[in-house]
Symmetry: C2
Subunit: 268 residues, 2 copies
């Protein structure tokens, strides 16, 4: 399995602190050694750093940790290969264009019997179930909504529909963004925190590093961080319920939906 | 205008030497200060580094210069903005997927009256004529050849056809690769060199740096380097004729075609 990290903010924010703890899991404090990647939106553009080397030893990861790229939507991933060999083409996050915007996708899980036939313009380049799921999702969005992006409610509903369908075929935790908002689907394991004023100190779980957010923020800043497991050991993180899709915009939750049927009510 | 750099080899080769001279043109020895980018194929995967900052001062460019990423197909670009403001979404090279392969494109020139209407799946994200030309080219390839990539001869012929059409609308020097081969179109200005055994020393034009290729190669290595202007001052570079498309594979020229009508023969 893999590890996911996402950030959605109301002002461009650097992810150096969270990324420092996160990359330690790529071979140092955890076993996710099969590559890593991170995507930063800057307006409609995307910087995408990918490396099939373990993140803990990657010169590119060292650069990203030190170079404060400010972004309102970030998605990062470290990989423990399940489907598809270790290689650049199988390294998350994946990027495609739809409706004149780049979309970024990263997945944690395993869709064991997912073998779609692709007839449209989105074809997987690598061998992962994850990239297949991303292509399937984009194809579905394009078929459902045609040439023009729908409003946020309709877009969220279609993404929830695909999350429901693919989530029934295996573990399907994912992060998705078009640079305007960030979608987080919890199939089994995903947690989040929203940092806002009054800001306090925080200490990483995976490295002995502390940051005082009050020194690097303004009172109006709002930052949502979503991760497979909590990145700090002195803050309160909230688990997303298994089988739920969340939409983060401007650093807060703006929509959520269940993607599994509610368990039948017990009566006695 | 911008500057292009491409490399196509028969074995994975690092581009550190050429890139060192090339990036000096982004604000140090020349005026191309409006961003830069470089794409490295590794198998079917691509590493794409983009930065809207001048390359001469970019920490990401410093990393690329020092970190020997080995690749058989590389495309780099430094920008002097003509159409589209400075920004990440307008920074070359551009990347899209077609037929389950990533395609990389960078352009030097200016297509002044090029305003295509896009109705297919490839839509520009930024505002450059270059990204529009790339989307137009991919759309054309997909419409002409359908869901399956054609053989090399047919693919080359279609790309030449688009180069001819768009080349008639303005300056259209470009580099294009799907990771298997590299296409170079000279509209006004593009030069190249093929390095093979016996290898010798070479000295950069833009920096006082010399490399002895005989120390870093094997006798079977073959490396084609294509650039807007020669990168070294002690080797023989050959200009590509204006109005010609070239295909490089395994470090040598495998196809070429004229993309302008031959001038009428003078009779007396």
């Amino acid at each position: 399995m893999c590890q996911l990290l996402g950030m959605n903010c109301n002002v461009p924010t650097d992810i150096c602190f969270s990324f420092t703890g996160f990359t330690a899991r790529g071979g140092l404090t955890d076993i996710h050694q099969d590559g890593w990647g991170i995507a930063f939106f800057e307006g409609k553009g995307v910087r995408l750093f990918l490396d099939p080397e373990p993140s803990a030893a990657s010169p590119v990861a060292a650069l990203v940790k030190q170079y404060p790229i400010r972004s309102r939507n970030v998605i990062a991933h470290i990989r423990k290969a399940t489907q598809g060999p270790v290689g650049l083409e199988n390294t998350h996050p994946f990027r495609r264009e739809l409706w004149g915007r780049y979309w970024i996708f990263a997945h944690n899980g395993n869709l064991l019997n997912f073998s779609p036939v692709f007839t449209g313009p989105y074809r997987p380049v690598g061998e992962t179930d994850s990239e297949k799921a991303f292509c399937y999702l984009l194809e579905h969005l394009r078929l459902r909504h045609g040439d023009t992006p729908p409003d946020q409610a309709a877009l969220f509903a279609t993404i929830a529909e695909v999350a429901r369908e693919l989530g029934s075929q295996g573990e399907f935790n994912f992060l998705l963004s078009d640079g305007q908002a960030l979608y987080a689907h919890c199939s089994t394991r995903l947690t989040h925190i929203i940092r806002r004023a009054p800001f306090a100190k925080a200490h990483l779980t995976d490295q002995d590093v502390t940051v005082d957010f009050s020194e690097v923020t303004t009172p109006d800043d709002r930052v949502a961080v979503i991760a497979t497991t909590p990145l700090t050991d002195d803050e309160v993180w909230s688990s997303l319920p298994p089988g739920s899709l969340w939409l983060f915009a401007d650093g807060e939750v703006v929509r959520q939906a269940a993607t599994v049927a509610a368990p039948p009510k017990k009566t006695a």
